[in-house]
Amino acid sequence: MQFSYLAIFILLLILLFAFILLAPFHLSLDIGKKGPLVEGSIKLAWLGWTLMKAEISPQSAGDLLASIWKEKAREEKEEKEQEGRGDGREAKLEERSEIDNPTDNEKTGLVRPPSIQSLINAAPALAKILRDMLKSILFKTVSCRLCFGLGDPAQTAIISGYLWSLASAFGLFPGKIFIDPWFEGERLEGELIAEMEARLLWAVIALIQALRVREIRQLLREMLGWA
């Protein structure tokens, strides 16, 4: 009797894992810049549940950058204040800096940069993993419109040519990419709308296949400090 309960539990667990791996994640991206205003939204959903939603309210690009700089300045100020609170907290700060800037892998348990040789050896396998991972992403809609001008018509025309060459790479996807060169001065406007779907199954398979490759295992060992 106990054995049958255990079997049902394991079966349910397998079904749950299969369900998680097969149910697709949906990512919606809508970002635009019109005139000086930047606005947009990012949404990540799974089975109709919204896992993450972020919205950029209409604000000028200058304001957006100013808010980012303000946030950074506030963080720096807080750090300086903490430094000035006597020797009692120095030990804690040292501990914090060790976590932020790991130097000793055995102590922090964090990753360390691998050797160049290991990276070169693992490059073909890494490229294959990346390809397999990209295969698991299905671009449902991709629409990108960019209007730009660099102030110099010749430079604008040259960069426009480069961008159209890059856009041809996206011709593999059922996307719509438009790049309009603006020759009458400096300008940057555009919008990006993308809807994509990804299943964890293919990513997990790619990961398992990667772990079967000796070079990848060696790279991981070096990064974890086990080599």
Partner: protein, 101 residues
Amino acid sequence: MTMENIRLPEMDMRVLVSKEIIAGDRTIWPVMRISILNTCEDRILAIQITPLAMLIIEPAGQYAVSFAGEPMTIEAIIELAAPLRDVLEKTRGSAKIIKVD
């Protein structure tokens, strides 16, 4: 597909003044023709940049040079690229101010 739906690629040609090049006391304003070949789906198929002429402004005076090898007058280059009229007016204006001083 009916004949009405078929559109031929469109060619968009513009004569534009490029950013000035400053070489010592000399300022060079290149004039170019940018030809854009659009596909029927409004995508850019090709862009061609052809230099046509240049306006050279020196402290001693101004003159135009055509890349076709023919002599070119200031009036002819202004007719080719109208924004150069403002450039020349500004230059002549600043030259007058210098003379007054």
